[in-house]
């Protein structure tokens, strides 16, 4: 279809869809007046049952942990897909140009700026670890912490040292971290099956609400997810980095 035809078709269809949505949304409860049984049931006994003060984490890593298993594997499969799609093709060559990759566009950055950027890395990693292990207590958990952890080595890149970043986070290692995190989650579910007879059932002591090691398996799940997410995002980023920095040719 030509562009005008396409846009006119969409004009009609989009208006129709908008009308359908508005008609449906009018049947929603008034904003702020929601009273669902699911949330109320959990608000009532989430803390008492799970000894986790962040109910979101309790839901994510325990009550609805099976969703999270699927979600982690979406991440895993997508990143595997990225690696598959961006794998080297015939006629491409991966050769870092010394001038381009070792000292790329930020090469002019002052030493102070570089030092600052490099100093960010340990800070980011510390923040990430904090967020991951406090999943059941405060907002955030394996996913948010995992991305920050994955972003840890990025300042090294931003400081203009791509190849050094690859040395800090070698491709093979981050991929293995990604895979082991994902496998570990499934294994945790199976170990629940073996120890308690039910898949994903918590076999660990619950601890005291508010304490670091409370909430049973939630801490373990959070760490595993943190591992997987940081590995996965690093794999994805370095695939894109490779494309942008070192892979040449292959164009038709």
């Amino acid at each position: 279809m030509s562009r005008p035809v396409r846009l006119s078709l969409f004009g009609l269809a989009g208006a129709g869809l908008a009308a359908v949505l508005v008609i449906a949304f009018r049947g929603l409860p008034d904003f702020g007046g929601y009273q669902g049984v699911y949330g109320q049931a959990l608000d009532g006994f989430g803390v008492t049952l799970r000894h986790a003060t962040d109910l979101i984490t309790a839901l994510n890593f325990d009550f609805r942990a099976f969703d999270t298993l699927g979600e982690e594997y979406i991440l895993f499969a997508s990143v595997l897909g990225i690696a598959l799609i961006l794998r080297e093709m015939r006629g491409e060559r991966a050769e870092p140009h010394q001038g381009d990759a070792e000292e790329h566009q930020f090469a002019d950055a002052s030493h102070a700026l570089r030092a600052l950027a490099l100093g960010l890395t340990p800070g980011l990693i510390a923040l990430a670890v904090y967020i991951v292990v406090h999943a059941q207590l405060t907002p955030g958990g394996g996913f948010q912490g995992g991305i920050i952890l994955g972003a840890g080595p990025l300042p090294v890149f931003l400081a203009g040292r791509y190849l050094r970043m690859k040395r800090i986070a070698p491709h093979v290692l981050v991929e293995v971290a990604d895979a082991l995190g994902a496998a570990g989650y499934a294994l945790l579910g199976i170990s629940g099956l073996v120890l308690t007879g039910v898949f994903l059932k918590d076999a660990l002591p619950l601890g005291i609400p508010g304490h670091l090691l409370s909430g049973g398996q939630m801490d373990v799940v959070s760490v595993l997810i943190g591992l997987e997410v940081s590995g996965a995002f690093l794999v994805a980023w370095s695939e894109f980095l490779d494309q942008a920095m070192v892979v040449k040719g292959g164009a038709e």
């Binding site: 908008a18 949304f25 904003f31 608000d43 109910l55």
Partner: protein, 114 residues
Amino acid sequence: MSFLPYAVAGWLFVVGLYGVVSSSNLIRTIISLTVVQSGTYVLLLSVGYVHGGKAAIFADIPAVSRAVDPVVQVLVLTDIVIEATVTGLLLALAVQAHKRFGSLDPHELRALQD
């Protein structure tokens, strides 16, 4: 006024679709796709909001006080992870499409015309 959040959610969905349909650059198509998806976040969270409710974190508030619905938040969290990863996958495809077709304009992608 109480319809506003829902209207915004619907708007994001439709305007994002418009972006996808009208785009002449795959990377823009992909970015518009994330706008479509953000419509679902806004709808879910608006549905679960409770007037005067607190976040469902009971570190320093008594568990009896009103809290916003925690379930929708968990759904949105899953949704966000999906967004980030599927977008990454699509971007990888876009990079490859540019190598193979020499263009990111969907109009120039002509391998599959019937």
